[in-house]
Symmetry: C2
Subunit: 209 residues, 2 copies
Amino acid sequence: MTVRLLLADDHPVVRAGLRAVLDTEADFAVVAEAATAERAVELAAREPVDVVLMDLQFGTGMHGSEATALITARTGAPRVLVLTTYDTDADILAAVEAGASGYLLKDAPPEELAAAVRTAAAGRSALAPAVALRLMDRMRTPAEALTKRELEVLQLVADGLSNQQISKRLFLSQATVKSHLVHVYAKLGVESRTAAVAAAATRRLIRTP
Amino acid sequence: MTVRLLLADDHPVVRAGLRAVLDTEADFAVVAEAATAERAVELAAREPVDVVLMDLQFGTGMHGSEATALITARTGAPRVLVLTTYDTDADILAAVEAGASGYLLKDAPPEELAAAVRTAAAGRSALAPAVALRLMDRMRTPAEALTKRELEVLQLVADGLSNQQISKRLFLSQATVKSHLVHVYAKLGVESRTAAVAAAATRRLIRTP
DNA sequence: CCGGACATCGAACTTTCGATTGACCGGGGC
DNA sequence: GCCCCGGTCAATCGAAAGTTCGATGTCCGG
């Protein structure tokens, strides 16, 4: 049984690398490539594909997690294996919520990559050890885990928005924004918004441009 | 005349991709690969190589710019072509100072990549259009260029320090720190420290963890 | 069913930040 | 020599951020 693959990554070199690594496996066949998330969604709907290898950060246009959600929403959809460079908590959560079957880092060795593809093709969940470890840590110390809402506010803080701007963006009052930030500061062990952004960046909780 | 290549990148997939892309060129031959900067320095000294494709960010150990400096310091050294994902001003300057013959982004199309390798092999300078454009912009609008001191203060802001903490760290008064930040805000077109950090991060003026 | 976590909001308070203005000095360039 | 720029500092004032104390409602699991 051949596993048909769709590669979605904006870097030609990475696509070539994935093709080189995966085509050496006898039971894999790369049937399509996409340089944008939009194109990946289109191809996944049209071509018969078993597993999509999806990057998260594309240079322009749709984000990989959005594309993942669109692809997995259909019935009989292929499995989506997220393959990204960095592992922020926000990205992992977004990918899992979007219906990704797995989450791999690009620095993974080829054997791990092939194993993850087979796992995903079989319908099981495939998480990179580093990612799994992070989720374990998150489970083990739920006190330090930021809620989705807190991450959302923190991300906007990192984008340079003021409390006023954040409140308007999220349809909240400034009081609520401050409230969330108080909790964020407590969980991160800091006492200012910039320190929170720095701490969250090192812990890969948020996306930094 | 065959161009002998050494690939230095910690991502197996990227190395495979570069090999796939470059080995299709008749006059290129990938003769060695290195997964760390240290290994790249070692191989560049031992193997007969014409051009080194050097990543900047390795997972652990030496930085690519250090390795570049070590490699180019020798007489009869190969040319080093820096090939990285992101293009921060600091990285570009460091690479050029280290003696890199060129600076490419990993999202470059294969033709551009091959052309840059030939340019480097011929002993000429090879800059990616995006990188060259950045340098041109930097020349054209020096008003937006932050001074060394301003960057220093801004970096500490990005690390989460308060004005008070920065003043102590740099042996300044808070007035001076504020003064620098006023200039930074004006140059970046923002009006708060977090917005300045966000703007500087997107423009790759500072280091983000 | 009840406790706890999460999300929401308000008000009063303190601290920090940012804007503004003005000043001094040293080093280059004209 | 003179002027401009970079770096340094001071004082002030309003705005923003952060703290503290409260409160309500939902939802979920024991």
